[in-house]
Symmetry: C3
């Protein structure tokens, strides 16, 4: 065991609680990974090409990493982040790695540090903390391993003990990479998920062109309300042939609406017309589409996920210079009780529907989300998300939802990542924190240990399979 | 001691803190129960009839229980919850009990589980966890005991060591059950509390008919502003003759207003007129009435309680099919600082007034409620309420209010329940959690143990008596 | 060591975490105090007169103390708080002290208790808890010491091991006390800070007269937009000659604006004109001025601090009778993500700017502030503020900000106090809590102990010096 990975890491400090946590973790440590929601690139599994150098694997694409470095005044160019205008950025992986290593102390106390140390230790055998002094040695060590076949995507997938992983695609995606995977005969189970934001959000870049392409792909008249809805039905069916069991919706708010057909049709005409779409209409349309998607889910069985509450691209200068997803998405207060009412009034009592709610606003855990999920048959709570997918964030999630919603209205863990080497680390953190939480309940005699074992296995494995129908 | 009830349950895991908690709990464990706010049925104490079968005692009337079962897809009909249209529901207590027992795992980690296990163990001597396999045996055991005299309401009241319990009645209630109790010569102290929502909230079902009845009961012209206020004064005085020491107000928000007399009168005419009442006027009238009630409290000494922030009957289908109080009330964000200002500007500096604030929005504990209660002489903080009346909820309440408001601006515990057998369990949980909280302060040398003993006794007993003038 | 001060106070209860906390604290205990933000009176250091009696040192001027006593019904007059109308108040220090001592139990569980006990024990050698019985003895003891030279401000300053302390002055202050200090040849380092609210907030009492005085002091036409801005530049430069390294802004909200020059000029004319200033214009002007101040900070290097979110003078009666700062300022919900965007769009990417954010709304720690500070180079997070400057408040600050913002986007501790004798206690509490937090990370193997030592020293000393450029 590398000194970077203490066997008791993340367990409660109290010796009796720690002993229980160890036993519970022993029951779940080796369970396969079920990853029902994430953003890895299906081409990795399709083509099985080696990953590039250490910097391009760990620094350049990981917004958790470069946002922290940027916040301390390090220009993104020096970290190799590509510029929208094609301007010059650092291309030398070793130079980027040195800068990263010299600033590794910035990640103290963050989950990024835990994920990185886990990957460094378990995949590359690092025995000491990354720092300026060992930057070159570690770079060479990792770069060398990345060239080996055992470090290609499929080998890692198997080594990670992934039972199934979901990627996320737009309805406009042809799922060619998924077809390649299927046709390759490889046994790894990679499924897609239906993320229709580009054709559901009138404020999405290129919405109108997206609709046109949506029509070409489906053969439907996607500029008529009924043809547009039918196109969704067809495309969802197509996604199901590539294993999809879920849809995902990344809206600014959790607003839903349930308009009469005529009003919905008129709204559709407005958002697809030539006049600029008002902010109110855009919100109304996104909200109406959540209810439409719920209706389709009752027909075709796809599980719905709502991921609301991010103010995207908050930093105007960064957006202009480097584009989307550069660490400048910031959470904001999110309301659920009134927002979800129209959809819930229509479909909330249907046990056949599964609607999984996420939040970036932790104040809603105990106040809104747990009371809603502890009542409506259709609702489940997704795990602690994004900035909150961390030891303290996960503890707060359990502490603030369990007493009202219980464990069985939650759905296990999502890694939600495009950082492939971090997947085992993320699941491991979740398992350790959940076992620690359960161990504290056992130690305080709020739960018996035999029950805690059952719950631990459900949180680590069973609930995700069941909720996502995998 | 039943294995369901470990003597150290809910105490901190750390051995030194646990040892202190045990000592503190030893000082308060046997104190009588003061229950200044709750919803038990006074007819139980008046008539002293046996409780019906186990399902009708523990499942059918308890919205904490059936909301969780419902959230997992179990129809309320199968749980015996009556339908508004008189439609068929399960009547067989044993069938309901089996369904409940088979799903007992859903309550893992919830306070419901703690309350139920406490009642099962202390009242009925259950020695093992409820489950599908022992459903019949436990049903028979409990049903058998419920037939015994020792399990009738008065016997249980005495066994529970209840010094005083408050029920809650509408001004339209004739307090006949309270009269029966008084006339019976039984020594149990049961007092009423004045809950005027049906004649204060213009949006309450039957508001106008309620006002008419209010007039009949008081002999006042309740359709004139002065007569209406006088009717309140009379009815409050009548409630006081049945032991009332408090009023209670369950409003959607904490809004208060302090209108000039002419404006208040004009508002009263609008909300009692023939035209539909606007949402704004309804809110204004409820808020004005809180200030009027405070004024009357200064005259007659009744303590005020405000319970704001629930969105009632959120689930339209459940409300239509089963009516109110079916687990579909959901908390929402609640603001206090601006909302209470009009009332506080008028009466907040009066030490003779006691106004007890509750919340379903925990974000207000440290931000608004503790700063307000730590300044205004009239304000006190009610305990963690409803969904937050749980181990973690109570810990958050103390952790987030004590540093700014201290212990002496809080009022001890409320069980706030209609689930009679859960009352000792609820007080026991509160006493254990408070002792644990104090034990941690002692262990971290923030408080001396002799002080902690005093505080523990105040939190368990003294503060409730003092704040509620019981 | 006085029994009032256990050497392990505030450390985690768990023995292994406590052992680590002790070691970490051993590394920082003796570090000098850097106090970059506070409200002590520079005349104390200038004149070095003895402090008056115990009541006038500990009770009369400390709103934490008298707000709690007032909340329990003790009139402010009895505590010697001066009335605006010059009406009678208690003048006898001993009488005030007795009342305070008899109610010392009200402070159980509050930080005030910790601060007071620390000062009583370390400065005056008290060996037992203050109470009614020892009120006279302690009064005499403290009063006696206050007459000694060793208890004058400069002697205490040196005894407290203060390396540098900042006071806060209005641009209208002539900094005469600071000049006296400098001219006295005393080696203590006391610097000023630029707090321009009286000439930046159109709703500040006497705004127009303040502007006129601002013009006299600077020789600029402060009723023209360009002259007004130039006056700020000159006055900031003047403050810098007295050591200022920072500005401070106490606004009702965090709103910022970045208007085109013409609009800003027109706005300035409106807020300085004869017509009453609308609430909207006042907010707009304060927000515009934050952006102007950021622009000047980029020119002259002063660090900016924003302290938003207090509803000042909530209690109308108390304000009328006793004036400002009488414990009646109440926090309210505060939004940052949209509010700061205009300023951040303009200057947020400048690593040369340091903008330190504070909050009274803890819900923003994890949701808004940590994500913002973990991205924008210009942003840093100030420590837990005001009501949250307490053991639990500090723990919540670290637990909710570290995982997203890390330690290095925070700025160490502020005591933010006018209670001079509490300064060592406040820094000691912060050091202990931070060491405890780090110790838990070490014990849970999330951080190595050698790193924790480095971080502990940075939190106690290094970060404040660096962030405030001291």
């Amino acid at each position: 065991m590398s000194p970077l990975l203490h066997p008791d890491r993340l367990f409660p400090a109290d010796p009796s609680a720690r002993a229980v946590a160890r036993r519970l973790y022993g029951e779940v440590e080796a369970l396969p990974i079920v990853s029902p929601h994430g953003h890895t690139d299906p081409r990795w599994y399709a083509r099985n090409a080696p990953f590039p150098d250490p910097a391009k694997l760990f620094v350049v694409p990981d917004h958790y990493v470069f946002r922290m470095l940027y916040s301390q005044g390090i220009p993104l160019e020096k970290l190799g982040v590509p510029r929208s205008d094609g301007g010059e950025t650092e291309q030398d992986g070793r130079a980027i790695w040195r800068l990263f290593a010299a600033n590794y102390h910035l990640f103290r106390g963050t989950p990024t540090r835990l994920w990185l140390d886990h990957a460094f230790a378990t995949l590359f055998g690092l025995g000491e903390r990354l720092c300026a002094e060992n930057a070159d040695v570690t770079y060479d060590l990792i770069a060398g391993k990345l060239e080996q076949d055992a470090f290609r995507p499929r080998a890692l997938f198997e080594r990670f003990n992934i039972e199934v992983i979901a990627t996320t695609e737009s309805p406009l995606d042809d799922l060619a990479a998924h077809a390649e995977i299927r046709d390759s005969g490889w046994s790894g189970r990679v499924v897609t998920a239906y993320r229709p934001d580009p054709v559901v959000d009138p404020e999405f870049e290129g919405f109108s062109a997206n609709l046109a392409r949506f029509g070409e792909l489906t053969g439907e008249d996607t500029f008529s309300w009924s043809g547009y809805l039918e196109a969704h039905r067809r495309r969802r069916a197509f996604f199901k042939t590539y294993g999809a069991t879920s849809t995902d919706h990344g809206h600014p708010t959790a607003a839903t609406f349930d308009l009469p057909r005529e009003e919905a049709q008129a709204l559709f005409r407005r958002v697809t017309g030539n006049a600029p779409v008002s902010a109110g209409d855009a919100e109304l349309f996104r909200g109406q589409m959540l209810t439409e998607m719920a209706r389709m889910s009752l027909e075709d069985g796809l599980v719905m996920q709502i991921h609301p509450g991010a103010v995207r691209n908050h930093n105007g200068q960064v957006f202009a210079r480097y584009g989307r997803d550069k660490g400048a998405d910031i959470p904001s207060p999110t309301e659920y009780v009134r927002a979800l009412k129209p959809l819930l009034d229509r479909f909330g009592n249907a046990p056949e529907l599964t609607l999984i709610l996420f939040t970036l606003d932790e104040t809603t855990y105990a106040r809104e989300l747990a009371p809603l999920a502890g009542h409506y048959p259709a609702l489940r709570l997704g795990p602690a998300w994004w900035f909150h997918d961390s030891p303290e964030g996960m503890k707060r999630f359990r502490a603030m939802t369990t007493e009202t919603a219980g464990f069985y209205n939650t759905v296990g863990f999502n890694d939600d990542t495009r950082a492939f080497p971090s997947i085992p680390a993320r699941h491991d953190v979740a398992r350790r924190i959940d076992c620690g939480f359960l161990a504290e309940l056992v130690t305080e005699h709020r739960l018996d240990e035999d029950e805690a074992v059952e719950v631990a296995r459900d949180l680590a494995y069973g609930l995700a399979k069941k909720a996502y129908r995998l």
